[in-house]
Amino acid sequence: MEFALKTTQLSKTYGNGVTALQNVDLAVPQGDFYALLGPNGAGKSTVIGVLGSLVIKTSGRVEVFGVDIDNNFPQAKSFLGVVPQEFNFNIFETPLQIVRNQAGYYGIDRRTALARTEQYLTLLGLWEKRNDQAGQLSGGMKRRLMIARALVHEPRLLILDEPTAGVDIEIRRSMWDFLREINRSGTTIILTTHYLEEAEHLCRNIGIIDSGKLVENTSMRELLRQLHLETYVLDLEQPLATIPVGLDRAARLIDPTTLEIDIKQEEHLNDFYRLLSDNGIRVNSMRNKANRLEELFISRVGHSPLEGK
């Protein structure tokens, strides 16, 4: 199997003595949509920083499409597109200038750069804003601008560090569709996010990093299989006085029209539906109580992804 990214024993200790990464072995196959998750301060951005040469690793090896960054960093960097967590463009420049200049930094001639700038700004809904000052754009537009900038040289590996942070749900969903399409066209994507729902929706493989160590590196399916219990919340059509016999082991009545049911991995929803029907209980809607991935995440790192170290 060919890997878009492979790190071996990657470690980083900052000048102030903080160890951000400890012997991280990461392997992201070509074409993958990979989620790199972890609480704040876990080391995700340090991994991305090392790849983008903004952080100098202390030890270990990093290969991008087989190119060792210690041997030929410029070539390795030419494969990468990086969307950082913080806005890092010149707010006085226009989206057109920002994206076109970025193409220039990758050696793309001006005519091609302009054509691609138009292509990606249009795809991300920013072409109309191409001559506005970047600092005047909304938060969502700024995020999309950074994605357009990262894509303009058509990288083989796109790294997105919290790309939908602070973006409203509608734009987030449209960005998901866009990223899926980019991935389908062959671009490997590594995504860090606090929205575990986002990772679950988009990613095939997942790594969880905590205190600088990779504590999980597996496929999303395999990880979710490890979930032993899921809790569903049912909205009932009619108020319920007591929980019927047969359901009382797994269900709790939150209020007269809201029922919570715990379902083990080996159990089937059909059996519960049958019991509900037999007792004349009609269900209007049903939802997961918590994101499935979130439960696993908490079990691995001990707290929610939004809580820092």
């Binding site: 100098i56 070539q75 707010i91 220039g104 930094y105």
Partner: protein, 257 residues
């Protein structure tokens, strides 16, 4: 990157730099024109008439080369320190650092931007000086080469300052406390022959003295110091500053954690 790709990256940064200082011309081109105009009026016309001659030339003629070079020095320095530190502070420098553009190309491009602004300001100041005196050119080759080399040197100086600077105060510190005194004491307004032996010798430790005198030689054919020493001095500092800039760009913790 292939040489062509490197050229494109270089041209992109240079165009961006020139576009930047042209966009804010009120801040980059007008102030040196106004301050030099005041120098010409006050030191040249008003006080200069009372001074008479300096090294056999009208004081105004003596003054012009130094003021032009002072403007070149300030503009090339300010351009790079302002632009590079601004990019570092605003984090837009990251977009350049994550790209495959070699550090040497980044450095050369920023220096070119500084030289472009330095020379443009030099031309503007030269134009203003024509309102006050007729300029004689003794050697156009020396004139251009000293102007370009000095602009390169101070653009590199601005680059080093920008890497070390943590705040905007750090950016203005060097021009105020180093550049300005060295320029004023570098023979812009007087010939060092007016000084006593000790002060003459001390003045010769000031590298700007060599640049100002070499530039003045291009106009008037006179210099307080040897021309070859001047060129050697400028060349030496350029090599040192270039090597230091490149090293810092690659290894400095101020740019990469």
């Amino acid at each position: 990157m292939t040489p062509r790709e490197q050229w494109i990256a270089y041209a992109t940064i240079v165009i961006k730099e020139i576009t930047r200082f042209m966009r804010i011309w009120q801040q980059t081109l007008v102030p040196p024109a106004i301050s030099t105009l005041l120098y010409f009026v006050i030191f040249g016309s008003l006080i200069g008439k009372r001074i008479g001659q300096m090294d056999g030339f009208d004081y105004m003629d003596f003054l012009v080369p130094g003021l032009i070079l002072m403007a070149v020095i300030n503009a090339s320095y300010q351009n790079v320190v302002g632009s590079f530190f601004g990019a570092k502070w605003g984090k837009s420098l990251e977009e350049l650092l994550v790209s495959p553009t070699p550090n040497s190309i980044i450095l050369l491009a920023y220096v070119t931007g500084g030289v472009a602004r330095g020379l443009l300001v030099g031309l503007i100041v030269t134009g203003i000086s024509l309102l006050f005196t007729d300029l004689n050119v003794f050697s156009i080759g020396i004139l251009i080469s000293v102007a370009v080399l000095t602009a390169i040197l101070f653009a590199l100086g601005g680059f080093i300052n920008a890497i070390f600077a943590k705040t905007f105060d750090d950016v203005s510190m060097v021009p105020t406390f180093v550049l300005l005194p060295l320029t004023y004491l570098g023979g812009v307004f007087y010939s060092i022959h007016l000084l006593g032996d000790f002060w003459q010798q001390l003045s010769k430790a000031n590298p700007i003295l060599y640049m100002v005198n070499a530039f003045r030689y291009g106009f008037l054919g006179i210099s307080d110091v040897s021309l070859s020493v001047s060129f050697a001095m400028i060349g030496f500092f350029i090599v040192c500053f270039f090597a230091l800039s490149l090293y810092l760009l690659t290894h400095s913790k101020r740019l990469r954690a």
